[in-house]
């Protein structure tokens, strides 16, 4: 099925494809529709909303949702768009003034999903971010999840992984996670924020007026923690998870300003689950595949955009967490600008005034977020030599450090770090940090991305020959089955 092909007699409205149905993608869809475009929105989840508005009609406790009315308004507009949920995009190309996306649509990882091809004049990439959970010894034990997983399971499924949970990492996201766990019925033993008072004050205290609504939100969460009697400890974190077959406890240590554990401060706490979240990492695969320039350093690489949310690739716009970690308000504002511009709108349009103002304010917020909670390099000192860093391939810190002098590609091939099923999405930043610390040059762990795993049989069933081979050399991404292939490495 091809969608969006401009046939004779159809209007000349611009065709805008939107990848991602979270705040940025939904705002982009609304704005593109307002500018008169024909909109096709694809999301890999079963429902719209992204991680921020992740939900299930019967299972989600309404107390865990924020800004729900806004979501309903955005979703309501989409009856004028073509929407595909459960759509895994495995190929994305932009050339000759057109964008082409190939997806399979259906239940997650099912066999025999429906092939979908979307052609558009412009695309808004709004693929968001996922948790960055730094490795700690014992983090592969059952009962350890990311903070995002704890949040998703509480919101989407109404369950908690354990009964006694410790939340550890960095950033304001730990607060709603703790609140959600408490509402869903777990005892949160403590929330451990790695940053110390100095770093937090440097990030949050200057120019408080820039925080606008954000300060109130944080105060609200701190109040929720107090109501549930959840201790919030700054300058500390989980540095080891204890247990043999599953989590039995953790070692908490005080951390210095660089997040190095301070000797003599370790103490054991009994728990059956741990939620780790040290910030977020953008989901850049589609943007890279489309040829958009990425910039940044070890603290984070993001899609480069101009004032119109245009990337360096023609016809490719980006919005939300892939341009910088700034939260839902930033994503909504950027999405509105990106969608409007992708549809041929102008930044001078009165309708852009609000989003542009919010975007300015939220970019300042994002910078402060990074300053207060950004990962400090000393965290690697809580790793043991034999700590698994790459979870998929069981690659230890020592194995990575021993190969740190090799070019990153050779290091990956020699150690298999980042070559497993998740393709380095989980370990990438940690591997880069270890390589850098050992004197190597950690450039480009995220190059040559795999978009979404699809089955060989599904690709074969697409049947259109050139639809697959030329565009996307399908490669086996792991050894769990030859049936798993993935799209594409269009460029190095």
């Amino acid at each position: 099925m091809t969608v969006g092909g401009a046939g004779a007699g159809e209007s000349a409205a611009r065709r805008v494809a939107i990848l991602g149905g979270g705040p940025a993608g939904l705002a982009a869809a609304q704005a593109a529709l307002a500018a008169g475009a024909r909109v096709t929105l694809l999301d890999e989840g079963g429902r719209l909303g992204g991680q921020y508005w992740r939900h299930h009609e019967q299972l989600t406790d309404r107390r865990l949702q924020h800004g729900w009315a806004r979501f309903e308004r955005l979703r309501g507009v989409l009856d004028r768009a073509e929407v595909h949920t459960g759509a895994s995009v495995w190929s994305a190309e932009a050339s000759d003034g057109a964008v082409r996306l190939r997806a399979v649509v259906g239940p997650a990882d099912a066999a025999g999903r429906t092939a979908l091809e979307v052609e558009a004049d412009a695309v808004v990439v709004a693929t968001g971010a996922h948790d960055l959970a730094l490795p700690v010894p014992g983090w592969t034990l059952p009962g350890v999840t990311t903070a995002g997983a704890a949040q998703a399971l509480a919101k989407r499924d109404g369950v908690t992984v354990g009964r006694r949970t410790i939340v550890s990492g960095a950033g304001p996201f730990l607060l709603p996670v703790a609140q959600s766990l408490a509402i869903a019925g777990a005892e949160v033993v403590g929330v451990h924020e790695a940053s110390r008072l100095g770093g937090l004050a440097a990030g949050w205290l200057p120019r408080p007026w820039q925080l606008a609504g954000k300060a109130g939100e944080l105060v609200e969460y701190v109040g929720a923690l107090a109501r549930h009697r959840i201790p919030y400890r700054i300058g500390s974190g989980v540095v080891r998870v204890l247990g043999t077959d599953r989590v039995e406890g953790v070692v908490i240590a005080a951390l210095d300003a660089e997040w190095r554990p301070i000797p003599g401060t370790e103490r054991e706490i009994a728990c059956d689950s741990v939620a780790l979240g040290h910030g977020f990492t953008p989901r850049l695969e589609v943007a890279i595949s489309l040829g958009a320039a990425i910039e940044g350093d070890r603290r984070g690489r993001f899609v480069v955009v101009d004032d119109a949310q245009r990337t360096s690739a023609a016809g490719v716009y980006a919005a939300g967490e892939i341009t910088g970690i700034g939260g839902a308000d930033a994503a909504l504002a950027e999405g509105a600008v990106a969608g409007f511009m992708a549809a041929g709108g102008s930044l001078d349009d009165d309708r852009m005034r609000g989003p542009l103002a919010v975007r300015r304010r939220m970019r300042a917020f994002a910078a402060r977020l990074e300053r207060a909670h950004g990962i400090r390099p000393g965290w690697t000192s809580w790793l043991a030599d034999d700590t698994v860093v790459c979870r998929c391939e069981n690659v230890t810190r020592r194995t990575i450090a021993d190969r740190a002098d090799a070019p990153l590609r050779a290091m990956k091939l020699a150690t298999r770090a980042g070559l497993g099923a998740c393709q380095g999405r989980t370990c990438g930043r940690a591997v880069e940090a270890i390589v850098a610390e050992a004197g190597g040059a950690p450039e480009g762990f995220d190059r040559r991305p795999v978009l979404a795993p699809v089955r060989l049989g599904e690709v074969a069933a697409l049947g259109q020959g050139n639809g697959v081979g030329a565009a996307a050399a399908a490669i086996s991404i792991d050894d769990r089955a030859e049936s798993t292939v993935a799209a594409a490495e269009p460029r190095q």
Partner: protein, 80 residues
């Protein structure tokens, strides 16, 4: 309520839960065997592939992404 089997053992879950949600709701935290021991859900949003199971004979299904359907046959995977 929905009912699925996990390695032929029946489990009950709430209608609409993911397979991971049903398993966790039933008190299970591990359902895949890796080199270093058992694994269960880690990222919860489809990124890490730690929670893979076989569903109705199809391998490599992310339990955190797949909504459970009454009667689903779920099998454990033993992989590195």
């Amino acid at each position: 309520m929905i009912r699925i089997t996990v390695d032929a053992e029946p489990l009950e879950g709430r209608d609409g839960q993911t397979i991971a949600g049903v398993l966790i709701g039933a008190g299970r935290t591990a359902w895949r065997t890796a080199h270093t021991g058992d694994r269960g859900v880690f990222c919860g949003i489809g990124v890490c592939h730690d929670c893979l199971v076989t569903v109705n004979g199809v391998e490599g299904v992310r339990a955190c992404q797949r909504e459970a359907v009454d009667g689903d046959r779920v099998e454990r995977e033993v992989r590195a």
